[in-house]
């Protein structure tokens, strides 16, 4: 039996990890909701943001958090451009399948360019506070993990408020629910979709910066992330941001707790087990499932 201390520590680690998963999955589920696009390159953009943070820190010594000022607007614009210039040109009939191919290619291009610019060597930001931690009832919380979690929580809150309480949010949700109907009501769905895509990519910028604080990065790391993230958005119900966040927290926590008894490799399989289970017994996901059912 693992000790109570270890279980508590693992719960904390799971919570911190789940927060990051939640933010990243939110972006991914947004793309699907808006456009029925499967965005394989989401995690590649995540790693790109992490590299930009690492690079800026190495070159100028600025705190990686400051790079957000540049990367968030930059990624937003890149997202809008990506949607308007590439994805909107795909034929609506085969959109979902073709978007897999297109974004797969984008992921490979990003990975290749990162490898070309920075080589395949693993990198890690060296911060004065890398190993600093706070004590909480005998367990330890690393400051860098806490900052990452806070970033994720704030961004998710911001995203939630934006979707629920702004005119743009209403338009975006209307577009997600029924594109034609939204258009009939006078919503410029193309423009809204572009901004929505930009928003999704901006979450990757925040997530990547949070990731870079406490993790090693290398160009092919995004493959390691995309699987769990895809599983999360299916379990959460495709297109549902709160669903993705709840599924992310639950699965992140389960992964962390399973790792007490199992090795790292096996603990990771929880995502795929959850994916199979969901597809077999509740294919529409556990939250906001109507959309996926219709799809």
């Amino acid at each position: 039996m693992p000790s109570a201390g270890l279980v508590f520590q693992s719960v904390l680690l799971g919570l911190l990890l789940g927060g990051l998963y939640a933010l990243l999955a939110a972006g991914l589920t947004l793309y699907f909701g808006i456009m029925r696009v499967v965005m394989i390159a989401h995690s590649a953009f995540l790693i790109l943001a992490a590299y930009l943070a690492w690079w800026a820190h190495r070159e100028t010594g600025v705190d990686p958090l400051l790079t957000l000022v540049v990367t968030v607007p930059l990624f937003f614009l890149a997202g809008v451009a990506l949607q308007r210039l590439l994805l909107s040109r795909l034929s609506p009939v085969t959109l979902t399948m073709m978007s897999v191919l297109l974004t797969f290619a984008i992921a490979l291009v990003i990975e290749g360019l990162l490898g070309y610019a920075f080589s395949g060597t693993q990198r890690r930001i060296r911060l004065g506070y890398s190993s600093t931690s706070l004590e909480l009832f005998g367990a330890r919380i690393a400051v860098v993990k806490l900052i990452g979690f806070a970033l994720a929580a704030l961004s998710l809150l911001g995203l939630y408020l934006l979707l629920k309480h702004s005119r743009f949010g209403q338009a975006l949700r209307a577009t997600i629910q029924h594109r034609e109907a939204a258009r009939l009501l006078g919503i410029d769905t193309d423009r809204v979709a572009g901004y929505g895509f930009g928003l999704g990519l901006a979450t990757a910028a925040v997530g990547g910066t949070a990731l870079s604080l406490d993790s090693t990065i290398y160009p092919s790391l995004h493959w390691h992330w995309i699987g769990p993230l895809m599983a999360i958005i299916v379990v959460g119900g495709l297109g549902s941001v709160p669903g993705a966040a709840i599924a992310a927290m639950t699965l992140g926590m389960m992964q962390s707790l399973l790792q007490i008894e199992l090795a790292a490799t096996w603990a990771q399989t929880i995502f795929y087990l959850a994916l199979f289970g969901t597809l077999a017994f509740r294919p529409q996901g556990f939250f906001g499932g109507r959309l996926a059912q219709r799809f």
């Binding site: 693992p2 000790s3 201390g5 270890l6 520590q9 693992s10 680690l13 911190l16 990890l17 395949g120 060597t121 693993q122 890690r124 060296r126 004065g128 890398s130 190993s131 600093t132 931690s133 004590e135 330890r140 690393a142 860098v144 993990k145 993790s215 090693t216 990065i217 290398y218 790391l221 390691h224 962390s256 790792q259 007490i260 090795a263 790292a264 490799t265 603990a267």
Partner: protein, 399 residues
């Protein structure tokens, strides 16, 4: 006198003619075939090995070559790919008809390439396959050109710990190793010895090579409150694990990690909290073996910086093969010649930059690694006694 040398020349010619015909290996050169991971996963150490081989060839040629013949390296890039390494050695031996071969980098590439060399009956000295499985394949042509196999890296540390008075000895140990034959070999070699002496294993974790989140493993180690932590690590994983352990404020009495602490970037990577961290090492530039002084000096001249362990092991490979060639007085693919080379190494000791080496019947070198420790902000040899630069710090100061 003239007759003797004429006779010798005829003999040499005859010897060569009898060999597996050779276009790439004229009388005046010895061609040595190598395949190295110059790109891909093992590119960094692969390039180190390449520099070591090149330094060896230059030093030998500057002195007039081997058996009076110039040494020439033929190096192919296997892209860190095990299938590629096999076809590379097939090509080098079968098509290019090289006279000798040197081994590639890393266990995963050494095993398949050693099999090719064995099929052709060729001597296979290698600089980097230290994991147990290399020596369990029944190879009769393989020799590892370094002081000790992976499982023996921590031998001096094990002796030191077991010699401590019973009340000071660590009572439990946490092991964490990368899922890699070499990294696991180092940690498990020590584990076997300590377990045999009754020291409890508190944690035994294996993680995949691409693991980036060490939080959960560190949590287990910290929770076990083990007196000692042993990491079977390469570089970045070792750094990540140490940072994760520091985040959880885990303070062991002994902390030993393979490879990572000897890297020049290590101290900065873990925020300079290095005091007392241990690592085994097979090579030091400061060793006063005669050939090492020459190697360090000429290598530095050629490449502008001092050699590290990968370079030294590659150079050692060259030295070992050269010793065999000089003793057997031949260097060709000829079966008889290769058999003589193998036979020589089976029964003799060779002086190298990592000290005198001899091998058991499976090709395992019979020396041990030195143990280094971070003392006063510098990594220094602390074990064995006769080579130490600083006293072993025990228990380890807090990090």
């Amino acid at each position: 006198m003239a007759t003797v040398s004429a006779l010798a020349a005829t003999f040499a010619l005859g010897g060569c003619g009898g060999g597996a015909g050779s276009e790439g290996s004229g009388d005046d050169t010895i061609t040595i075939g190598v395949s190295l991971p110059l790109t891909g996963d093992f590119a960094e150490p692969g390039k180190g090995v390449e520099r070591g081989y090149k330094a060896w060839a230059k030093i030998v040629n500057d002195k007039g070559g081997l058996l009076g013949r110039k040494v020439e390296l033929k190096i192919l890039d296997d892209q860190s790919n095990a299938d590629r390494v096999v076809s590379d050695y097939e090509q080098l031996i079968g098509k290019d008809e090289v006279d000798l071969v040197f081994g590639p980098f890393s266990t995963r590439l050494v095993v398949p390439s050693a099999r090719v060399a064995e099929e052709y009956g060729m001597l296979f000295v290698e600089p980097a396959g230290a994991a147990p499985e290399v020596f369990e394949q029944g190879f009769k042509n393989l020799f590892y050109a370094a002081p000790a196999v992976a499982n023996d890296h921590y031998n001096h540390l094990a002796e030191y710990i077991l010699a401590l008075p019973a009340d000071q000895r660590p009572k439990s140990v946490a092991y964490s190793a990368m899922d890699d034959p070499f990294a696991q070999g180092t940690a498990y070699g020590l584990k076997d010895k300590l377990e045999a002496a009754g020291i409890k294993t508190a944690v035994d974790e294996v993680y995949p090579p691409n693991t980036t989140d060490f939080g959960p493993i560190a949590a287990k180690i910290a929770d076990s409150k083990a007196d000692m932590v042993v990491g079977g690590s390469q570089y970045q994983d070792g750094v990540n694990l140490i940072v994760a352990l520091q985040q959880l404020n885990y303070q062991p009495k002994i902390a030993a990690f393979s490879t990572a602490p000897t890297s020049p970037e290590f101290a900065e990577a873990i925020g300079n909290k290095t005091e007392g961290v241990l690592a085994p090492t097979g090579y030091t530039q400061k060793a006063d073996y005669p050939s090492n002084k020459e190697f360090v000096e000429k290598y530095t001249e050629q490449f502008g910086k001092a050699p590290e362990e990968d370079e030294a092991n590659a150079y050692t490979t060259g030295q070992v093969v050269a010793a065999a060639v000089e003793a057997a007085k031949c260097a060709s693919q000829d079966e008889e010649c290769q058999a003589k080379l193998i036979e020589f190494l089976r029964g003799n000791e060779v002086e190298t930059v990592v000290g005198p080496l001899k091998w058991d019947d499976k090709g395992r070198p019979q020396s041990a690694h030195m143990i280094q420790q971070w003392v006063d902000g510098e990594i220094q040899i602390v074990l064995p006694e006769e080579q130490k630069e600083a006293d072993f710090v025990f228990p380890k100061p807090k990090w």
